[in-house]
Symmetry: C2
């Protein structure tokens, strides 16, 4: 069958011909509908993140998938069910994080991530997955179900951020999303439903499609060239919640000062090493005297995927239409990996959903 | 009546003669038993923190008090009740933080702190306090009730730290206290009841009374001269919880790396400005990929004072005896403010408790 993968060191995605997988006991066979592309895929292709399964010299890409159960193979799923797979799998037998249904909390070395590190992804005509790692999706969401995985990332970050503020009466009114990529915009749409005032920071100048989306959501675009994070409190307001999705290493430090008292930063970016000066004394003092919090958050679990299905259903069709830039068939898959200023969210289409 | 205060700019505590206060409606009159001394008092005396009430040129010191109700003045308290006062008071009429019974979450400018900033403290033969800011203490704890306030600081920090880890199955086994001052040692004694393994970092060499206390608690002393924070994971283990009570501005940054995956840092110190280099990229990445959290925590509320009363009751008499270095009568109060390597925790005694 056809698959999209990257050979070690090749630096680009290519079409591969691999055997169709056979589901093992407890696994279902899934016919792939669509698989989204994100920044992590770009890093995996470039070789700066992740890696191929042990003993293999290529990695099938893709971790944002939606598909249709082709063969339930004795599981409680039914043929025709629309499902989204979670990403992490136990690396060498189960460990306590997987046993707790919290693989997202597993430390380095205690997980593989399908399509990212140690395990093949979902960019193939078919994939297999344990039933416990498949989340059912209403058929009405079959087309855009590949957005469940990125939304689940934010569900987890919100859970952890809110938990960190649960020891007192926290009544947040404003939220700032750092980053206007597809994850930032999805998060902003979710925040619009939760906060009275939202802001989204990017470095694009007008005209720009992401700025149009931000404003059509009713949010305020913050151009970081004019208003960097440290100036946001004075220019706009000090946000109760900051969601960092840039991977820009200065942002967490700048956010400590920019947050409102009792506010929380959810950090999601994964920068490389970068040494710089900070006023560590002032940051430390500000954290303490204003009861601020920082939570780092990575990956997501089944519960958060399920919450993401509900969130996806609540987003407007017009927002999703504007977010999804291109759906590419297999014969033009390269287009899905192009990342320019007109691209927000692309996906590769492996097959189409037809209601039975 | 006698009181201990500091005149603006004087740089030292002195005995003052001030009028005995009359309780207003809703307030009780309290006869002071003992008032503890901590590092904040030293900073207030030195003039580096806090300030006198508006329009006055001196501040009565003391925020760690225990006393006996002298005149209930129509409140539901009874004469003879042993009480501990909380520290924060509304500055200019109530605000939402006080209305929520969470004055500890009030930002700068929305509180006075008795004995610290904007309001006189408890180092006087009598003080008045609203009933709602007096926490009852069993008579058996009358002598050491001045430890309730510092313990409540840790109750709050633990609450916030645990809350930040409540979105997943957190099962911490080890905790590290940074700082072997009286707050660090009180916290360590509390942690001994909660964690399987505890560590306490200081910079003292043996023989030292704090090291004796640490070891008699069953904890491990970490000499920062030999094992600075970054080396703790390799030398001992990566702790699940780090409690920072040093005010050393590098500690929060070093703690991000030293924490175990999914761990949390509770930061309590209040350093001055200090600019230094950090590998901000590595810290940001570590927070995210290992789901770490930082919570800043300051002050405490009535609920946390009540929890502190229970915690104080659970600490062994031998631990408390070893922690409390000196109880100074009014005519030798200067001794309570001496801060040398033999001092752990001093208090000034204004009167003695006699059971009715």
């Amino acid at each position: 069958m056809n698959a999209i993968g990257v050979k070690d060191g090749a630096g680009e995605a290519e079409l591969l011909d691999i055997p169709r997988p056979d589901p093992e006991a407890g696994e279902a066979l899934v016919r792939t509908l669509r698989v989204g592309v994100d920044g992590t895929d770009q890093e995996v292709i470039a070789g700066s993140h992740g890696g191929s399964p042990e003993g293999e010299d290529y990695l099938i890409l893709g971790h944002e998938a939606v598909g249709v159960v082709e063969d339930p193979n004795g599981t409680e799923l039914e043929a025709g069910d629309v499902v989204v797979p979670t990403v992490r799998r136990p690396p060498n037998g189960p460990n306590r994080y997987f046993e707790n249904d919290e693989p997202d909390m597993a430390p380095d070395g205690q997980y593989h991530e399908r399509g990212i590190v140690g395990a093949h992804g979902f960019m193939a005509e078919y994939f297999t997955s344990p039933e416990s790692a498949l989340v059912s999706v209403p058929t009405a969401l079959a087309e855009y179900g590949f957005l469940v995985e990125p939304i689940s990332i934010t569900e987890k970050a919100i859970e952890h951020a809110e938990a960190s503020r649960s020891a007192f009466a926290w009544d947040p009114e404003s939220a700032l999303v750092l980053g206007n990529g597809s994850l930032g915009l999805l998060t902003l749409a979710m925040f619009e439903q939760r906060f009275e005032r939202t802001y989204c920071l990017g470095r694009r100048e007008r005209p720009d499609p992401t700025i149009d989306i931000i404003e059509s959501l009713g949010s305020t675009y913050v151009n970081s060239n004019n208003t960097p994070v440290p100036e946001i409190p004075e220019t706009y307001e000090a946000p109760d919640l900051i969601y960092e999705a840039t991977g820009y290493a200065r942002h967490p430090f700048e956010s400590i000062e920019a947050l409102a008292p009792n506010g929380v930063l959810a950090a999601l970016g994964v920068p490389g090493d970068w040494t710089f000066e900070v006023d560590g004394g002032a940051l430390h003092r500000e954290l303490v005297l204003h009861n601020k919090a920082i939570v780092g958050s990575v990956n997501s679990n089944v519960r958060q995927f399920e919450a993401a299905v509900d969130s996806l259903a609540s987003l407007s069709a017009s927002f999703i239409d504007s977010l999804v830039t291109g759906i590419y068939d297999l014969d033009e898959f390269e287009g899905a990996f192009v990342n320019d200023d007109t691209t927000i969210k692309n996906a590769v289409q492996f097959s189409t959903y037809e209601k039975r």
